[in-house]
Amino acid sequence: MQNGNTERNTENQRYGRLALGFVLLSVALIGLVFLNIVAGSTSLSIREVFDGLTNAQSPHRVIVMDVRMVRILPAILLGGALALSGFLLQTFFANPIAGPFILGISSGAKLVLSVTMIGFLSRGIAVGSVTLIVASFVGAMLSMGFVLAISYKVKRMSMLIICGVMIGYICSAITEFVIRFADDSNIVKLHDWAMGSFASIKWDNVIVIAAVVLPALVVTFLMSKPIGAYQLGEVYAQNMGVNIRAFRIALILLSGVLSACVTAFAGPISFVGVAVPHLMRRLFKTAKPIVMIPACFLGGAVFCLLCDLIARTAFAPNELSISSVTAVFGAPIVILVMLRRQKEGER
């Protein structure tokens, strides 16, 4: 009887923590959206923001919608996508420091994208959103292929990470090389993008981003059951009824699509994929995918909104690249995770 009570108490505590976590993330999200609308080279009052949001004829309409919102929405969607992609890769490799940037997947996407863009632009063809995503996805899959091949050879997770970082360097080097050969007019645009930025995203891009990221989020959420099983290891996942081969392919494709979408529109953004899932695990004190998937998405959105706010306003009117800001916050977290692992004793 007493045992039943304590069990119920811990159960309540668990639900309490979940509710608290999600409320916290939601409040942070709303607050940051608001701050991101208000802050900038032209400061707006609350009334002006409200006016700009609701009234199409408002004089503030352009700033609110076409300068600020067009940047906020992709920051939310792509931030969420990055964190989710990181969570999926961490599950796949059973490695808490895996992520699209660290494993060189973002850099692979960047390489193929650069080649594609230069090829299109030098022939005077405009590059559409879909082309961007496809090129980026191909690049992401190529890098992923390399990482997978390596992961069969090396079992130590730190080695896998080092190999991923190397792949990233190689891809970045080739990208630099390719950009050298581009026309002057292309270089400026490519350079901005290659550093990572939400600045150059247009409304029609936003729609494509939403059309890719949101369904991927839903599919991932619906896969939370096999993901949870897979966390116990392949042997037990299979005994729980998971078709391992199909599941692994689905996981690779999903994380690839998510990180490719980010790279296609905002360039490579570092460390979000590792830092956010880690922070969410600490916040919610669970690794269960049914909690982690929405939490990582929300957390990624909050993280990227905050970083973009800093990138835009810290040294205004000069803008920092989003990646340099995410690195400042994200890299220390990665180091912390590794230190903790070291303490617990790496395999």
Binding site: G233, V235, N243
Partner: protein, 374 residues
Amino acid sequence: MNGTYYISAEQMTVGYDGKPLIENIDIGVRRGEILTLIGPNGSGKSTILKSMIKQLRLIAGTVVLDGRDMAGLRERDIAKKLAIVMTERIKAELLTCWDIAATGRYPYTGRLGLLSKEDREIVDAALETVHATDFADRPFSAISDGQRQRILLARAIAQQPEIIVLDEPTSFLDVKHKLELLDILKRMVRENNVAVIVSLHELDLAEKISDRVVCVANNRIDRCDTPENIFTDEYIAALYGIERGSFNALFGSVELPAVSGEPQVFVIGGGGSGVPVYRALQRAGIPFAAGILPESDLDYPTAKALAAELYGIPAFAAAAETENVRNRMTEIGRVLSTVPAFGETNAVNKELYDAAKAAGILVDADALLGEGEA
């Protein structure tokens, strides 16, 4: 042919990367039966188990589960019938023991894997069965190996399987938990009519719980038979290639090799009093002779394993010719008696004792062993 088997391997060839390790395996287990795999390390017990649960691709042959070829069954359907407890370490970040046990309900839950009230009750009951309720809320990564093994068994129980496959489930357990785990298995077999395939290192336990035993050695199934036919001193020694030491089938225990050489002491034993002295002499490296033991005596098997010379008589023999033994005893020159008092039917040893005493060659155990150490 094997219609009554719940799961069976038919002409199964197993191995890694397409290279056959063991060929043409035909084994099966019925419901309500425990099939145990024994054999030396590296003989392929785990390989056979992994192949039967579809973790390893078969090189040839089929595995039939409940009358159907397992290759054609969906993972999900298999999961409702077959539960496993394997040696792979479970990675469980931030999961409690309860959470791990609850993963057994996975095949029964809906798309999002949410547990119903009934699922929760089944998990609670499973944890109760393995006596793990006390630490159910602790993190899985923070408990002992023995506790982990019980949680994994609870997980398998919660899965409500018709067959459980266990790979060396007792390896990390202490004596108490070994017995407990096997008792739970036995109960599940008896009460829920579950089939069990298990690989064990502990021959004494295998002998006691198995309905049938499969012996794996030298890349083949050496024998598949009842424990009575498998657990003979000679066969087990041959199966494991025991050259130094011996296996006692009756007790399911092992003995180190006897110290060979000219006996330095003659031990008069009987009724179990001799065993500790035989062992002490063996440890001290002193070759000894033992006698006179009826074959039915408690001391007989140990003496047989450890003594350099053994003087036995048939069980329940009324009397025996003792002159030869007495001569030999005198020749050895030192006699140690472990028998506290000689009963009426133990006249032969009484005679030896009296002779030794008369000759003044009786020695004290402590003195002898102290000398051996020096």
